[in-house]
């Protein structure tokens, strides 16, 4: 009964035209059709947050979105976060400095969440960071490293503002 549709989607700045089964989740589309395996699947019921990506700049669970729904839209995954020259962006670097990841499985979703948060609020409070991260479960770190990473970026954002 399932059928296929042709979708046009921009992922990390690249346009793709693909035929997809309409029941294919966006997470599986990214991982298995586009081979962008940086997006991870941890629960497939929208709680763990490992599959979180940016859909038109806003976080979304790619396990709860069908690929057919992103026709005409733009998706950013963990593979699309680094600077143009391929070096880590300030948030990614801060994650290294502060031991914000251990096994790295939740990391793609965490980066999506924190990227959106820092776009919305360049200098968030620790409580705002913690509340944003409730949408991402991490079993390894106890969250402190990733919180410290955001606060490091936030301080830098603050100093940038101060200079302007």
């Amino acid at each position: 009964m399932s059928m296929t549709r042709t979708i046009n989607v921009t992922v990390n700045g690249t346009s793709y035209e693909h035929d997809v089964d309409v029941r294919l989740t966006l997470a599986d589309f990214l991982r298995h059709e586009l081979n962008l395996t940086g997006t991870h699947i941890g629960c497939e019921h929208g709680v763990c947050g490992a599959c979180t990506i940016l859909l038109d700049g806003r976080t979304a669970r790619s396990c709860l979105t069908f690929a057919v729904q992103v026709d005409g839209h733009s998706v950013t995954t963990i593979e699309g976060l680094a600077e143009k020259d391929g070096t880590l962006n300030p948030l990614q670097r801060a994650m290294v400095d502060n031991h914000g990841l251990q096994c790295g499985f939740c990391t793609p979703g965490v980066l999506a969440t924190l990227t959106e948060l820092l776009n919305d609020i360049p200098n968030p409070s620790e409580q705002q960071v913690r509340e944003a991260l409730t949408g991402n479960l991490c079993r390894c770190t106890g969250y402190s490293g990733m919180i410290a990473a955001v606060m490091q970026v936030a301080r830098a954002n603050c100093n940038d503002d101060g200079r302007q």
Binding site: V22, R23, E44, V68, Q69, T134
Partner: protein, 293 residues
């Protein structure tokens, strides 16, 4: 945990959607997908047809029309959360939204989706219950309006018939400067409420002139505590009044499950009712002086 096969429809107009609903057996409407798709992935639900309403342009939006708030069914929870109009005139909605899921799910989740899913612990239906919202439903027989009191029919079942679509929620504001509160106890941030209490108050000096108290998480849907509301009106907005209300709130009929017993839910209803009334009182910015009326 992959969904069973289905046929996918993405109507561009309301009429098209309603027509599809009339034609398709075992169809489900897909809005934000934050409740439906998990159930599909678990294969708890296996619809033959998915009708994706995200492409219907005029189904989303927040507008004030003749003093009444109209929220399109496909309006994202995030857009409600960040709406100045809602924060100013319908602050209970924003207060309730603070407890709804996580920013990642509010980005996609919709007002209509939450109401249609009708989880007994959900916050937005409780807000609608407290505010006596009117639900707009479109179907092959035209558009009809259902008072929220008649919207929840049974456990996770609403007044929306299989061939109908929830299109909007209409909410009349309370008086400017009214008090409001949404108190909730959840095990973790963003979890469904164990129990949540929405309260609204209007005061005249220190007397309650209007009150609404609604509880979620105790029954199959939100429960308005109308007896308590009746006793509040005309009473002093005092700690004693609210403590008495809390004792009555503990009498609410409650259902137990593996998350919490009925006793515990009743206890929480009392505690949160008192806290909600106190916070609502503290938030009243304009109490009429009695000359108005």
């Amino acid at each position: 945990m992959k969904p069973a096969p289905f046929e996918y429809h993405d109507p561009r107009t309301l009429e098209e959607a309603v027509s599809l609903l009339g034609r398709c057996e075992n169809a489900k409407v897909l809005a934000g997908g934050q409740s439906l798709v998990p159930m599909m992935n678990f294969r708890y639900v296996m619809p033959d047809h998915i009708i994706d309403i995200n492409g219907i342009a005029d189904l989303a939006g927040i507008e004030e029309c003749d003093g009444v708030l109209r929220i399109g069914a496909a309006t994202r929870q995030r857009d409600l959360e960040f709406s100045d109009l809602i924060a100013r005139r319908w602050p209970l909605i924003k207060a309730g939204l603070h407890h709804v899921g996580h920013r990642q799910t509010r980005n996609r989740g919709t007002m209509g989706g939450s109401l249609s899913h009708a989880d007994p612990s959900a916050e937005l239906p409780n807000v609608c219950a407290a505010m006596d919202a009117t639900i707009e439903i479109a179907g092959p027989r035209g558009t009809r309006l259902v008072p929220f009191a008649q919207f929840n029919r049974a456990f996770m079942t609403t007044a929306v018939e299989p061939d109908e679509l929830l299109t909007a929620v209409k909410i009349v504001p309370w008086a400017e400067g009214h008090g409001y509160s949404f108190q909730e106890f959840a095990r973790r941030h963003g979890d469904f409420a164990v129990v949540g209490v929405a309260a609204l108050l209007e005061l005249e000096r220190d007397l309650v002139t209007r009150a609404a108290v609604s509880v979620c998480g105790v029954s199959t849907g939100p429960v308005r505590l109308r007896e308590i509301e009746r006793k509040l009106v005309g009473a002093a907005a005092s700690d004693e009044t609210f403590a008495a209300a809390a004792i009555s709130a503990r009498e609410v009929d409650a259902i137990g499950d593996h998350h919490a017993s009925a006793d515990y839910r009743r206890h929480l209803a009392g505690v949160l009712c008192e806290r909600a009334l106190r916070q609502a009182r503290a938030r009243v910015t304009i109490a009429t002086d009695g000359a108005v009326g």
